[in-house]
């Protein structure tokens, strides 16, 4: 909870809210007119506008609303809890900001006694994101829509998906570097949450941000989805700069057909390996693999169907509105947002470059050459990045269809960034 509302005047707050409404309108424009990831950006943009309606407090908790109003009952209860009977009100608010979960729970009850209620968007956020459930359900549905066939036909493309995750960690280093040089003030948890933008995977970014840096979640999600929509602009120059015409013309042998049994076994193997090596990535990848197993097993089609349709759609609506709630002016209009937007695009660029370079490195050793363009698809952004690889490839050789070859690294990138997410959550927890 920011104490911004005390430092600045009411006019300033309303000006900030007006700015954020314009940001929401801009997101709607990009989503509707430019088709920027509309499934998420329509509810995010709309939720962002709702969150910034002056006086409605839709994105605020009952306790936050009571504190905005400096409700005497709640302030009094806080004075008693903290045993600071004569302290200045600012000191009390500051103490609340820094207090633990159980203190918040007690003061929330007092605020509800005093007649305050959680805003609708705040409730959506609690249920959908703070609980962690919405990204998991999205992963279930995405898993049920994913075909691992191309990956199974050529498993070494998994390494391209690994390399592209360098964008994530390079960005973490960039963020802590900004802190080191005093440009920004990111904690290591915040830096990790920003880095995950480079994973080019919306639900993973939201999942990590909700755990490590909930206040930055709005900016991180907006950056992630916007740059995913911009992949066709961001990637091609980098891909062309790092490859020769000859490399871009490399023709890859046709993929073998993959049997149904391999497709059934794969999600189970991924789950067990993830459980063994990276337990913190198990929730995300577990749901992803369950979705995929439901699809490939062919015995629970009605569940797979629902996971791909009603369930993922319902979750997407509330996930989007919940992210929108984090576009409240006091959270979003912060210099950190600019830092996040700058670092996010760098993350995409580095991830793309790392994927391409990894492919070139593999060609040094392997007999079967891969077209380095498909390395760029390793950032995920499924299926956009794979399409971009195909398109750039066609420019050099109009008969060389790379799409299926690029789908391997593309879905590998999803696994890769979920693994990276798990590692970051575990390591940041260990840093304490």
């Amino acid at each position: 909870m920011e104490n911004l509302w005390l430092a600045s005047g009411l006019a300033q707050i309303q000006m900030n809210q007006a700015i954020m409404i314009l940001v929401g309108l801009a997101l709607l424009f990009l989503a509707i007119r430019k088709k920027f990831e509309p499934l998420l950006l329509v509810p995010i943009g709309f939720g962002g506008i709702m969150a910034n309606i002056p006086g409605a407090g839709l994105a605020s908790s009952a306790l936050e609303l009571a504190l905005y109003a400096q409700d005497p009952m709640v302030i009094g209860a806080a004075r008693e809890l903290f045993e600071m009977p004569v302290a200045h009100i600012d000191a009390v608010l500051h103490a609340i900001d820094n207090s633990a979960y159980s203190i918040h729970a007690q003061l929330s009850a007092v605020a509800q006694d005093a007649g305050y209620n959680n805003g609708a968007l705040y409730n959506f956020y609690s249920v959908a994101i703070a609980s962690g459930v919405a990204p998991l359900v999205i992963f279930l549905g995405v898993g049920a829509m994913t075909d691992f066939g191309p990956l199974l036909a050529n498993p070494k493309t998994l390494l391209l998906g690994a390399a592209a995750q360098f964008g994530i960690f390079a960005t973490v280093l960039g963020a802590v570097g900004m802190t080191y040089f005093g440009i920004m003030d990111f904690s290591i948890a915040e830096a990790a949450a920003i880095g995950i933008i480079g994973g080019a995977d919306g639900p993973t970014a939201i999942y990590v941000a909700s755990m490590l840096a909930p206040d930055l979640l709005g900016a991180i999600a907006v950056a992630a989805y916007s740059y995913m929509a911009l992949v066709p602009l961001i990637q091609p120059p980098i891909m062309r700069a790092l490859t020769t015409e000859a490399e871009r013309q490399i023709v890859m042998t046709q993929l073998r057909t993959v049997s149904k049994r391999e497709k059934i076994a794969f999600p189970v193997i991924v789950l067990i390996l993830v459980g063994f090596f990276i337990p913190d990535a198990a929730p995300l990848l577990g749901m992803f693999c369950l979705g995929n197993l439901m699809k490939e097993s062919g015995v629970v089609d009605r569940l797979s169907d629902t996971a791909q349709n009603a369930l993922i759609n319902i979750t997407t609506i509330f996930l989007g509105l919940s992210v929108g709630s984090k576009l409240a002016a006091d959270k979003f209009l912060d210099p950190k947002t600019l830092g996040i937007l700058a670092l996010g695009i760098v993350a995409f660029a580095i991830g793309t470059a790392a994927g391409v370079l990894m492919a070139k490195l593999m060609n040094v050793f392997a007999k079967q050459k891969v077209n380095p363009l498909i390395g760029a698809a390793g950032v995920s952004a499924v299926p956009m990045a794979a399409r971009v690889a195909n398109k750039v490839g066609l420019e050099s050789n109009p008969h060389n269809f790379l799409l299926m070859h690029a789908m391997g690294p593309n879905v590998a990138g999803v696994i890769g960034s979920a693994v990276a997410a798990g590692v970051m959550i575990a390591v940041v927890k260990a840093f304490g």
Binding site: L158, V172, G177, I415
Partner: protein
């Protein structure tokens, strides 16, 4: 925490993170390759897999509908052709 510490933490995260990602996905390459070899060697799908997947209802309708449409159009053309020829 001093500023150096956070740089150190960032570097640690980079090492641990990329290390884990590469180790994990490399293990997955090996495991997947082994699994595919094992299945294709010992558990090949002999004939039409008995676990044949029931196509999703909508698709089914669509493909059926499409074939019907094609036929209907074809017959329609034939009928029209005949009609105009008469």
């Amino acid at each position: 925490m001093s500023s150096n510490d956070i740089l150190q933490q960032g570097a640690d995260l980079l090492m641990l993170g990329m290390g884990s990602v590469f180790v994990f996905l490399s293990v997955l390459v090996v495991a997947t390759t082994a699994m595919s070899w094992f299945i294709n060697r010992w558990l090949p799908e002999v004939e039409a897999e008995p676990v044949a997947r029931k196509p999703a209802p909508s698709t089914e309708i669509n493909s059926k509908t499409l074939s019907i449409i094609k036929q209907a159009i074809a017959q329609h053309r034939v009928a029209k052709g005949r009609a105009s020829a008469e």
